[in-house]
Subunit: 351 residues, 3 copies
């Protein structure tokens, strides 16, 4: 399986947590290789423009907001939220070609979603709807990591939980989690993975939260959406004999998990996540405590994945040996490749 | 307009301030991609040699001065100021091919000028003569910046002052400076730019120096010499009604400005400058105060130009959109390109 | 003489001092471009495996020892000291192709020697035998340097001692050391160099150790082995009139020197050395004092060689000018090139 240094262009990707972009601020970040600024117009609406003036390529992120427009602080060109250049100091007429790219961007459920591909194909209705991001009954604090690794290696990681007992033995792993292979389904949007392990110890991190002792029936269900690299999870641990995920789930320790990976460049990525829980609503400090544990676990992933990237870089054409735990990730790699090939193919000539 | 990753070889470039090279010192710097050492012989004359021993390529800058010669401190080869190898320890005969390149270098008006091209064409008479660098009536302190950007992007900057109200709004800019386009002339040596703005506020930096209040008539005249990238300026602000640059200039705040850009590598450069003034002669601390303001303004340029270089590097073949303020820089880019093409063309065969 | 960016594969190279690899430790280092882990099995025997899991390329150096085997801590694959994969969690059958490379490694005279080439050709009998590394009558403390330079430039350095009066004027050089060229012999294994200088001052470093004063007769004899880049030296200084190296050597200051250079990547290398002495046996702190002096001298080499590498990189195709002091290094460069060409040539077809 070879490393594919490309990505799907036509998809909604998470750009940032909405709260990362306060008013009166130019927020700069690179997505799919393109530098972008995000900011809010007077009514609070998000705008996304290419972070490069069309005149001499100075970054607009070094510019200033003037009402709803952005002025480049090199030679003073000014751009409307549409990307159109509306002022060239000392110039009376402005050619229509003077503009920067603007990207569709939508704020939804505390996240800013951006579309870097063909703007005509951007349909906000296609943005994932996941109410747990916006539900007081499922509190959480949002997280973000910057990766020095290809988004593909990160997807590989989240699609194969057989690494839990090894990479995460001290945090979210349990010793026999890898003994049974998960059940896979192949919906159009990507993959559905159902992994249950009965009679297993609580993961070390969960000991801090559980109100029960002893072994549990554990489940990890998740859907992965290939466009946007979104993972939506239903994770839980129920006391033995309570029926696991099929039981009443009353008293079970439950999390809804959200992870989304946005390629930054060929070998870097942004990683946003949330880990809403069904317990300790309103308990002071608990949001912080949960995310602190999650950061600990995710830094374990980051550490091994960045080291893996360095090894891949040494011998980029070396084949990897597939094991049956790779079924999900192989399926998604093939799906990405198919979409990328289609996107990059020239359209067929009309008869 | 595409980035041209080359430079004019046959020109006098500023190597350093003469005071940067005291006696008994090897001063090392790279010009036009070539590492060079500069030092003084016993009579104080400057010498410039390639900073690379012809034997095993060790840098001579790690060597030692022995009288007028330089000894490589790897295996002990010794080179005369002519570049000729005059000692190989343990060897009786030294082949004539044992030498390092020597470069014409001339000290003039506090500067060291170097010629990196065809030494036979180096005529010291062609070095710019600018008496303000050497005139007690026009005091100054010389400055130097190292740029992580192509010399071309820096030339672009100094040939288009429409960036003053934006990049330099807090230092040397004034709000309406970009409203009128400058008058251009096209002498053989490069370009002459005359920019006057009447009834404009004093630039923020100049408020610290002026003895008058209120608006001024401001002028910026300069000549740019394409060979050597030298800018010679006549900048001033006169009280309203005193006739501006055409008036007596008595009581006006006047500066003579000198900027010269020497390519170091394809994407780095040395920038030397002086800002002689006609006021406060002999006032203690004023040389420092003026250059401190200039450094503040020039760091604003450096900040945006280095950011611009990073964006150009992301998409080096992306076209830039020209505005009328680019006329001067476009003229000079074309002139550089013509000279470079001529220099790099093989000579025509004799009939 | 052009830089050859390759190395001999079929040779025993020093991997580390044996004491660098204690029990229960994964020791990671790169040799000849290949990342390797070294560790000890229960009986203390050294094992060397490729530091890259065959599954997803995670480094095994981030794994854990389990008895004599290594478990990758990404997805849990486990490898025997043979390189064979002996466990894939959740998998019943393991394909024979699941393995990592194992490299012959031998512990001898306090050193770990590794063979990165064709394992079938690795004969431990060919490892250099040098009893001084293991003889209480010749105490020493082993040293190690990491070089940001090609191993070839380092070999050049140790094969031409005419640099001593220059690079090492304050440590191990003496002023007239370069006046006489050494005597060379050309055994099959590489080169033998005999350099004697009569009536010369003691090297600055040796003044701290000698029990006699005044000038000395100095000798430096050494054998360089092209396979493995091993230098074995017999260095000494005897009081004037005692017959130098041919005399009784009683009371002379004697060192046996060991230097070995292992390519890490094209432009980096590991340098191990020892400097056993025949005096001050059992004197507290003397091992440290001697190696401190040697480190001082060797950092002088490292400084000039890394600067030389930077100059070579600027103009990699520039020819170097040979002097007669280069005879030994030129001989070895040619010998390396011949072996490399042979190793890289396809085998002749059978008739």
């Amino acid at each position: 399986m070879e490393f594919v240094p490309v990505w799907i262009e036509n998809a909604w990707y998470v750009a940032a947590w909405a709260s990362d972009i306060p008013e009166n601020t130019l927020f700069a970040r690179t997505y799919l290789g393109v530098p972008v600024i995000l900011y809010r117009t007077a009514d609070g609406t998000l705008t996304a423009l290419e972070d490069r003036c069309c005149h001499r390529m100075a970054p607009l992120s070094k510019g200033r907001l003037e009402g709803d427009a952005v002025r480049c602080m090199y030679h003073g060109l000014k751009f409307a939220p549409s990307g159109e250049c509306i002022d060239v100091p000392g110039e009376e007429r402005i050619p229509a070609s003077f503009r920067v790219r603007r990207f569709p961007v939508v704020e939804k459920q505390n996240l800013a979603w951006i579309w870097m591909g063909d703007a005509d194909r951007a349909d906000p209705e296609e943005i994932i709807d996941w109410p747990y991001l916006d539900d007081p009954a499922w509190p959480y604090k949002g997280g973000h990591l910057h990766y020095n690794a290809s988004y593909q290696l990160i997807i590989d990681n989240i699609l194969d939980f057989s690494h839990l007992p090894y990479t995460h033995k001290n945090t979210i792993g349990t010793s026999n989690y890898d003994e049974e292979r998960p059940h896979l389904e192949h919906p159009d949007f990507g993959i559905r993975i159902e992994h249950t392990v009965d009679d297993t110890p609580l993961a070390p991190m969960n000991k801090a939260f559980a109100t029960f002792e002893g072994n549990v029936d554990r489940w990890s269900f998740y859907d992965f959406y290939t466009r946007g690299n979104v993972l939506l999870g239903d994770f839980g641990s129920a006391p033995l004999g309570a029926g696991g995920h099929k039981g009443s789930r009353e008293g079970a320790l439950q999390f809804r998990h959200f992870t989304v990976i946005t390629p930054e460049t060929e070998k870097t990525a942004h990683y946003h996540f949330a880990h809403p829980r069904n317990f300790g609503i309103g308990v002071e400090g608990l949001d912080d405590k949960v995310i602190e544990y999650i950061y600990a676990a995710f830094h374990e992933d980051k550490d091994i994945i960045e080291a893996q990237q360095a090894r891949v870089d040494l011998n980029p054409h070396e084949p990897m040996m597939a094991i049956s735990a790779d079924k999900a990730l192989s399926h998604i790699r093939r799906q990405i490749e198919r979409i990328v090939v289609t996107e990059q193919s020239p359209p067929a000539a009309a008869e």
